[in-house]
Symmetry: C2
Amino acid sequence: MTRTAAIIGGGVIGGGWAARFALMGWDVRVFDPDPEAERKIGEILANARRSLPMLYDRDMPLEGTVRFVETMSAAVDGATWIQESVPERLEMKQQVYQTLQATCDPAAILASSTSGFRPSQLQEGAARPEQIMVAHPFNPVYLLPLVELVPSAKTAAKIQSEASDILTQIGMFALPVRAEIDAHIADRFLEAVWREALWLVKDGIATTEEIDNAIRYGFGLRWAQMGLFETYRVAGGEAGMKHFMAQFGPALKWPWTKLMDVPEFNDALVDLIVEQSDAQSGHMGIRALETLRDNNLVAMLRSLKQQDAAAGALLNAHQRSMRKPLDETVPLVTVRRTVPVDWTDYNGHMNESRYGQVFSDAADALMIHVGADDEYISNGNSYFTAETHVKYLAETHAGDAFYVATRVLIGDGKKLKAYHEMRTPEGEVIATCEQFMLHVNLTTRKSCPPLPDVLARVEAVAAAHKDV
Amino acid sequence: MTRTAAIIGGGVIGGGWAARFALMGWDVRVFDPDPEAERKIGEILANARRSLPMLYDRDMPLEGTVRFVETMSAAVDGATWIQESVPERLEMKQQVYQTLQATCDPAAILASSTSGFRPSQLQEGAARPEQIMVAHPFNPVYLLPLVELVPSAKTAAKIQSEASDILTQIGMFALPVRAEIDAHIADRFLEAVWREALWLVKDGIATTEEIDNAIRYGFGLRWAQMGLFETYRVAGGEAGMKHFMAQFGPALKWPWTKLMDVPEFNDALVDLIVEQSDAQSGHMGIRALETLRDNNLVAMLRSLKQQDAAAGALLNAHQRSMRKPLDETVPLVTVRRTVPVDWTDYNGHMNESRYGQVFSDAADALMIHVGADDEYISNGNSYFTAETHVKYLAETHAGDAFYVATRVLIGDGKKLKAYHEMRTPEGEVIATCEQFMLHVNLTTRKSCPPLPDVLARVEAVAAAHKDV
């Protein structure tokens, strides 16, 4: 049976919740007095409809309905999950809970998106405090999995476990917070960094852009996959967390941040951290952790490279600066590289699907070689691949070097037929590809002959390769 | 001509510098009194040789030589770049500079990896302070691009600009820091978060693992691609940075972190931040920024999914929970999904290379359908693709839905031939693939007949599909 989520307050966060629930097959009812709410949430829904399904290599549940209602009681009628995302004003939130609890199902989960308030503060004056807890998500809610689940002593255990189950079902990660504290966990870090950053801007040490670059080209990439402690465990080298603590412990008293209220750095604290770090990461040796970190970083950096964004844009610029013309050999060596980790599957060998990448890259190099380069393409001409025929002859693995030897078999008017051999450095053939391409006009999307210079180059290369 | 880098201090950071320089074609000389230094740097070099080339879709420069020397003067002889990475003790560093400057080229760059000291502190007592600056990298130095370049008033302009140029040439990003400050920029954030995290562990709010999860499943992913301010500009919604500041300005005085020494939140500060944020991101509208963020997040999450790590492992688990058997239609619908952003190229259409992915996924679904599932494979049996023949008939774009209709043309002993049609939801054929597979024994890597149950399923499917 389709379940219903009530969204109380439809800003960036409420809208994100609405989109997450709807795309995971829940019916959604939204209450927000803002006359613009429907349009604003519509924009968020459009973003989510485009991007959330891209995370999954399969079809999605049938989308639930999203209805905008006039009252809180209409929103919560029949709702299993009620999510409050009104502005960060405690009295307003408390009032909202009183109104919601007047009509909602006493068994429903009543969760707050608050960044900072403790659940016991939210529960003050509530008819049924046991129904209320904090479920703090991260923007964009429809893509990021984290939800901090913070109960107070009064929150019912059943509400906590049901909330956790439902969040897992809609693709999120419920992080139970062991004790109430202002701003929970993640926002304490965010707020500390925000305050530190405001100082740096105010004092003229760095601009907002420089600060963003200091984060996204360095530790941001580490934190996206390992977080703080596991990263430092690896940084400790062979001696691990204990060494890291010994090395940077004394720095706790130095003015490296405005946060100068530090816990006493004693053996008890070191032991506590080392023990927890061992429980977290001790099942892996330092080399295995380094490989995990490096594989994740390579994969993420390559994904950003493909988007030509952030650190990936830096890599693309660097790669362009290394570009040099192909040697005029027969056959042409169009690709020479190693197999990256994101091309392999759980067997560790290069996945079938990536051979297409290899031969596509070989064709790109051939195109540049015959003068069908970036400029030629931006002027509205290109070659499109019409047909490929790949034979898979041997396996290859992450880190293995290989090259592609390319011959032009046909270069005749708009037709170009290439033959690629993917080889180990020793010359063993890993795979072959016959590739049939057609020259196209990018405006009409129809085939047509290449411009004379490119045609002449193609004919010359084909003639040279025919003699072999 | 091959240039030389001198590495003074060969720990995790010094070793990372050595690897970065060597793999970018520089000769490297390492000085470190640790008798284990050569072995330790050897491990770092091995990691770097495996992973750094994976970042590049082309061949790398010829690797430089790495030599371990007995004295600092032997290390700096002929060196263009001298990198000091000795422990964080000011007097030791000052002494090292005196020794280095006794014999090094006065035109060489003398850079420190210090996390915390200011360059003017390092220059005290130096013969040529103008030669010295901070070049603070991030571990692993061979993968992360960021280097904070911090001059003092005494550092020569020529040294600064040459350092910046060289860092770009070795694939790094030089961030010039406008004024000296303890811990530069990034480490101020790291230190604030570290101190806050120690409190949370000490006070029993969260374990090290919970803290890491609070980072890597949420804001860590945001920071890996946009950093702090641009993320908050987007979070401000249509009203942007000004709205975000108004919303969270009052929170500056709340106890959301132990960092309670905050700058005065006045119009001057708001205007300064808004102005810098406009200069940084104002050329893009809010929708464009949202799309940029979402595309980056989708691409990074998918890369982690492919590694089955961090948030990607969560996505895989969620996807497995959604698995259901194929409907027994003829043809089978083996894939039904949308085109993700990481499958498209700068034209916005699905890149030629990803059709292989689509048909490989279709084959995987077919395999599961005939009983050659995860368990069957883990028992040492599988199908390998021997040959594919793809015809590209129409274009498709990011976000477009499609499905694959699959027929089994031959299912005879160890041979299996499938025919896939990739179609739009309306039925237009985008591409076709004839795929020839062989059943293999994963131990011998040789072809052999499938186990009886699978063979019977394959024969039944082939018989049903033959009638069409």
